[in-house]
Subunit: 228 residues, 2 copies
């Protein structure tokens, strides 16, 4: 499958490599290719400059947001939540129309210090904002409830644990279930929460995730839904 | 232990009976005892009138909020989130001072229809509001992430699963860990998320809980935190 991953940070890089290894044709989209390649500093998360990373990952091309959108069958939004709307606007509504848009982003607002709060919550969600802005896209919220390394390697967390998805397009959720399977998530670990409104709960889980991260001292955790 | 449970609904009744059975001296507090006993209709959740319920549970006396607070060593807030501040005001700041206040309530707002949204979220929480209103109380948020029957019988959900707590008073959290143990929660199932600010994440988990309730078709579920 032709997949465009938007975002050059930890999540974008991690998902791009993993999907490429599973046989997908993957590009990473960025606002300005020359600027991204010209950077020589590590980012806020300690990642090496993109050019250095790409020298080790030649199978993943870096292209503009617009070029990323042109050929893609599915688009993965792995940008920072604060930049997601701008990034997708740069991809363009026409190029997003009819495509599966996997929204992995969290609308975290770091402007008030740590821990971050959400920039949208309770009566709306980032995923719903994106769906409203790009009504032709087939938005599915998923993967935002685990750290990047767990997204692509669920076996880092022992035992059975859960991955959620929400979206209004049933066929798009079926495509996403397949992609999650490629990443190592068994189908019975994936819980379909129904329509995209449930993305609110997935994004509002982030404060609990952040508290757990602090309490456990590791990001290699997840939750398993247990029931009778 | 002398425990006052505030609230005559499902959660209050369920917790009062369970704590009484474990040997605690339990009363239920309500705004107006005569009014509560005079009701003859089932409530919105299908519970029988309180007078009928109490005839079967003579070990749990119904008293006014103020009387409930006078003798209690610990107070359990099992009122609806929308009425919690008023209920605790009726108990009185003086009577709450120095006492463990177990806040089980969720700030659900049903005024916009189903599913409810939260009346406070993201940059504040009900638990923090209560702590600010009653600075002498030792507020601990817990139990709000599971349905009433699971609160008092974790074995309804198979396997190991997690209970959270958050609060600024370490000694109060130790008391609450003991009470959770009385209800059947093993100490290693209880995750201390640190200060009361983490109550935000516990309350903001509710939208995900509501989505899971819909997706699973049962309220007899919980989440287990899994980690390496």
């Amino acid at each position: 499958m032709q997949i465009a991953v938007l975002g050059t940070g930890t999540v974008g890089r991690t998902l791009a490599v993993a999907l490429s290894r599973r046989g997908h044709a993957v590009v990473i989209g960025t606002r300005n290719v020359a600027d991204t390649l010209a950077r020589t500093d590590t980012d806020a998360m300690g990642n090496p400059p993109f050019a250095q990373w790409q020298a080790e990952h030649g199978d993943v091309a870096l292209v503009s947001f617009a070029d990323a959108g042109s050929d893609a069958e599915a688009v993965v939004n792995a940008t920072a939540g604060s930049g997601s709307l701008a990034a997708l606007t740069a991809v363009g509504a026409d190029r997003l129309a009819g495509k599966v848009l996997v929204d992995v982003a969290n609308p975290l607002d770091f402007s008030q210090g740590m821990p971050p709060v959400l920039s949208v919550a309770n009566t709306d969600s980032l995923a719903e904002q994106l769906q409203r802005a790009f009504p032709g896209a087939r938005v599915v919220k998923t993967l935002n409830t685990v750290t990047a390394q767990v997204m692509v390697d669920p076996s880092r967390v022992p035992g059975e644990h859960s991955m959620f998805m929400a979206g209004d397009d049933v066929a798009a959720k079926s495509v996403v279930t397949g992609l999650l399977g490629d990443l190592g998530w068994p189908a019975d670990a994936v819980i379909d929460l129904g329509g995209l409104r449930s993305a609110r709960g997935l994004e509002m889980y982030l404060p609990l995730w952040l508290s757990l991260w602090g309490a456990l001292g590791t990001a290699d955790f997840n939750i398993a839904v247990t029931r009778t």
